[in-house]
Amino acid sequence: MIPELGLFALVLTFCLAFIQSFAGLAGAYWRKPEWLALVRPMASGQFVFAALSFGLLTWSFIVNDFSVEYVALNSNTELPFFYRIAAVWAAHEGSLLLWILTLSAWTLGVAWANKDMPIVFRARILGVLGLINCGFMLFVMATSNPFIRLLPAALEGRDLNPLLQDPALVIHPPILYAGYVGLAVAFAFAVGALIEGKVTSNWARWLRPWTLLAWAFLTVGVALGSWWAYYELGWGGWWFWDPVENASFMPWLMATALIHSLAVTEKRGLFKSWTVLLAICGFSLSLLGTFLVRSGVLISVHAFASDPARGLFILIFLGLCIGIALGLYAWRAPAFGSGGGFKVLSRESFLLLNNLMLVVAAGLILIGTLYPLFIDALEMGKISVGPPYFNLVFLIPTLPMVLLLGVGMHSTWKRARWEMLWLRLRTPLSIAVPVALGISFAWGRPSVLTFVGVFAGVWVILSALSEVRQRQKMGRSFFALPRSVLGMLTAHIGLGLFVLGTTVTSVFSIEKDLALRAGDVVELAGYQIKLETLRNTEGPNFDAVEGVVTIRRDGEMVTTLYPQKRVYRVQTSPMTEAGIEAGWTRDLFVALGDDLGNGSWSLRIQFKPLVRFIWLGALVMAFGGLLSMSDPRYRKKRQAEAPAPELAEGTAP
């Protein structure tokens, strides 16, 4: 009964979302106040029933209802409670239900926040969001129903994929989805603006906090995925340029470009059509990601089931979304017009460069991701594009961008002056060079690229800090800074930490594959690593061989690690559970390989300096986004439209 109720709730959600979109779009077109009044209650109802549907599926997992096929395939009576809940979104059908719930939540937010938004415009946005959600609900009902019964019921479930039995799995998908789906809000705003035929600075002011929130979620989601791959896939890499990773990273790059472009649109009334285009592309890329992941075109841990009907459905949906949005864009965007001009040396120019670089980076990654698929579809052979391609094409646009960031942050709107910039930036510059030299040499002999990378990281951090100092010199205290500025500076410091971590880890990591017997000692980066013994152990649903590895430095005990090789009982697949000693300046990573015979085992031992800065940087970035989003400015009453306000404000974002 419960699963049927769940499906029924989903059908109701679909109906409410449909009414919402029809009432919103048609009501705005024919100016029917009574239709417009329906939109917000429908949005609330949509959320309530989506949550009910999701809750009922979760309930089926909690009570181990193996008469539901999806539960039988992804759970097991031995599976711990915590993972039974996470298993709801561990495979295709349930994760789509999560997607729908998330979109309903965003819709609810847009419906009830932004009190000063004109009712007609809000109705249009909610109409578009409703349509998108309808599309996804149709998809679930037609091809991926999680509530299908299994007759006769299974006695025992097939268990959750062991790779996914991990705390990070519990939070990675919901957070990533919140970001992915949040870009739908920007998309809806863009389509709404195209229907109305105008982009105003209020439009940008309303959209900015939503985009910042979605971007922050996306940042944390991608970082969690990377962190999870680092310790759970077992081999210590943190980014593989796997198509699925790219699918989440490209929307992130677009969202990053969008938040910068929105700043210009809000403050200066410029880049209007560009901002709208970015908003469309951001969500289109997240739909493309969904297509790549869900259609079976790609094979990875994320590509759950390959069913051509699913791929076709998403492809058609993707085509419709992009086609309609770009068609509207071609029709309406030329009317947006452009605001005042700006000099070559101005904040606008730097933000334009930032946008250009980010979009180029996303484009090059897109080419590398899609090219093998095209070649395959044309039956011209099977190829893959290796990580060195991505590393290079990512660095070409982003390294100059990071170097210019420091200057851009200190440039004023409309026109900046070299003398002024030099005055403000000479201190960060004179500190960054020696600090970068010091860090570069701390772990060994660096190359030019190492120095440039480390310098870029330190330079960004210091120029952000220098902005705070400038403000203090002008007699304002740290806490009197607008939150949007504080958030911007924080996010840039996060970026600096990330660049620093990435560079140092990439260049100075040491990795060794070794054959060791109990009692053997190896030396790695000044640490003495000893395989003390190997023993058998077991967990709730797996058996394992566990190594006991002690790590000493100059004879002093640092830590003991317990890397495991697990075999999960139901799916009988082996899994490597690495032992990691985490630290601010370095990680020590030990993973158990195979039994080589003669009592020796293969081990992979790694020394990874500053690897934590990668995820720390991402977290700081996301925190900056949230800080910026909380600026009271975004909750002010609607302002009179001024195309180029606050010309004299100088360094505000």
Binding site: V344, P388, S573, L596
Partner: protein
């Protein structure tokens, strides 16, 4: 006049940047494309000499040989028609075992042995790399006809 001059600079900068990026990209692209071959294609001489490529197939049952106490391992990869010897030194992935579909990255040496620097076997016991599945299907069809 001045405005046009400034715009000229901007356009030139953008064009130069794009040009350099495209040139570097094409080079990186060309260097990093790995083609996929099956043992049959390699034996037929279709695989390039001295260039890295991806070899895919099934690990022949009972063919995994380890040099005791070291990380050196050799095994046979087959598409059920032709078979190649693969040598590898390092830690093998979790799901590497007899009868599994694998993909190895590496190049042929002059003894006709494929020297791999990376071996992939993916995360699911039912999983078969799509290239391998297709290659096996082709062979199957030819054997019947």
């Amino acid at each position: 006049m001045k405005k046009r001059y400034q715009r000229g600079i901007r356009v030139a900068l953008v064009l130069a940047g794009v040009g350099i990026a495209v040139a570097l990209m094409l080079r990186a692209f060309d260097e990093n494309i790995l083609y996929f071959y099956t043992p049959r294609q390699v034996v037929a001489g279709e695989a390039p000499d001295g260039r890295r490529f991806r070899l895919g197939g099934l690990v022949t049952l009972g063919s995994i040989e380890r040099e005791p106490g070291s990380l050196k391992v050799s095994f046979l990869v087959t598409d059920n028609q032709k078979t190649l010897t693969v040598e590898y030194e390092g830690v093998l992935p979790d799901l590497f075992r007899d009868g599994q579909g694998v993909i190895a990255h590496g190049a042929m040496n002059d003894k006709g042995v494929f020297v791999a620097d990376e071996v992939l076997a993916k995360h699911d016991e039912n999983y078969m790399p799509p290239e391998v599945a297709e290659a096996l299907k082709e062979v199957h069809g030819e054997n019947e006809s």
